[in-house]
């Protein structure tokens, strides 16, 4: 059984508690949370979660300069807020080009969402 390791960055305590209640699942392990992004970055580096859930500002950018380093560190980032039902999913991918044709291949790849 594959376990998803999850970390939560939150602003409102009720958001965290709601997520914590919803993630009570045998294949999900909530390894940590923080309301401080800098502290979260350190813990994410140490705990290496597969998924980071970020409670965003309804009026802000889905990913900003504070959360970009988290995305680059590897986990799938799910950004959501308490204002609406929109959910943003980000996945950082890194590849090395061997041939120029590889660029075309990447461009022509179908993503997860059509």
């Amino acid at each position: 059984m594959k376990i998803s390791i999850v970390f939560v960055i939150w602003t409102n305590p009720l958001f965290l508690e709601s997520i914590r209640a919803l993630l009570n699942h045998p294949e999900i392990q909530l390894v940590g949370d923080s309301s401080d992004v800098s502290q979260a970055q350190k813990e994410i580096t140490s705990l290496r979660p597969n998924v980071v859930i970020i409670e965003g500002n309804p009026d802000g950018n889905p990913i900003d300069s504070e959360t970009l380093p988290i995305l680059k560190s590897g986990p799938r980032v799910i950004q959501m807020n308490m204002g609406d039902n929109e959910i943003y999913i980000f996945q950082h991918q890194h590849r090395t080009l061997v041939d120029a044709k590889d660029l075309l291949t990447i461009i022509l790849e179908k993503g997860d969402v059509e």
């Binding site: 305590p13 009720l14 958001f15 709601s18 209640a21 959501m80």
Partner: protein, 215 residues
């Protein structure tokens, strides 16, 4: 063991609504009897399920929380509405209270505060999130400051005559008591009515009673 507090959660935010349901069901004296995603659904479920407390979001499709609160309080006055919202604006706050809400909690609250608020409103008490309660007190105090200046100013003699009228004295008795002529008393009474925008002696008595001017 007393009956559990029956709660309806009305919020169009899927994660919040589902998460709150799970959270609240962890309290032994709470029972979440239903969930609504629109104000209209909340009103229908209230009629059907008769919850003790509705946890009401404001921004919802079809019918917002403000209108839903008005409808629920009109149709089921015994149901207590606890607002749970992101909105910090005074406009929403006062409108929800006027619509009949018993409490106002921001989504930035701690879980313990929300649980305490639900128990408070279920008992018929009022619960206001501290920062919102401060606004209510400020509004009340500003009202107190405005009231005296908006009232017509009465002379000491007019206040004295108003007090005696309220005490049941006739014009003649007041004249004798104050050692002035009955026509002077009549003149003061006429001025009083004009200043206070009143028409009868009975209205003068009621004004004096309402403003603490009884003898």
């Amino acid at each position: 063991m007393p009956d559990a507090i029956k709660i309806l959660v009305a919020d169009d935010h899927t994660v919040m609504r589902s998460g709150l349901k799970l959270l609240l069901e962890g309290e032994s004296d709470f029972e979440v009897v239903g969930e609504a995603t629109t104000g209209g659904e909340a009103t229908r479920l209230c009629a059907q399920l008769q919850p003790n407390v509705v946890l009401m979001d404001i921004g919802m499709p079809e019918m917002n929380g403000l209108e839903a609160t008005r409808v629920i309080k009109k149709e089921n006055p015994s149901i207590h509405i606890l607002v749970l919202t992101m909105h910090r604006s005074e406009e929403y706050f006062f409108q929800m209270l006027e619509a009949g809400a018993s409490g106002y909690v921001l989504k930035g609250a701690e879980t313990g505060e929300l649980i305490h608020a639900i128990r408070a409103v279920a008992q018929g008490d009022v619960f206001l999130y501290p920062s919102m309660a401060r606004r209510l007190v400020q509004e009340y105090l500003s009202g107190l400051e405005v009231t005296p200046s908006s009232e017509p100013s009465l002379t000491p003699r007019e206040r004295e005559i108003l007090r005696l009228i309220a005490g049941g004295y006739s014009g003649k008795e007041i004249a004798e008591k104050l050692v002035i002529s009955p026509s002077t008393v009549h003149s003061h009474s006429t001025n009083l009515m004009a200043k206070l925008n009143l028409n009868t002696r009975h209205e003068l008595v009621r004004y004096a009673r309402d403003h603490g001017l009884l003898p």
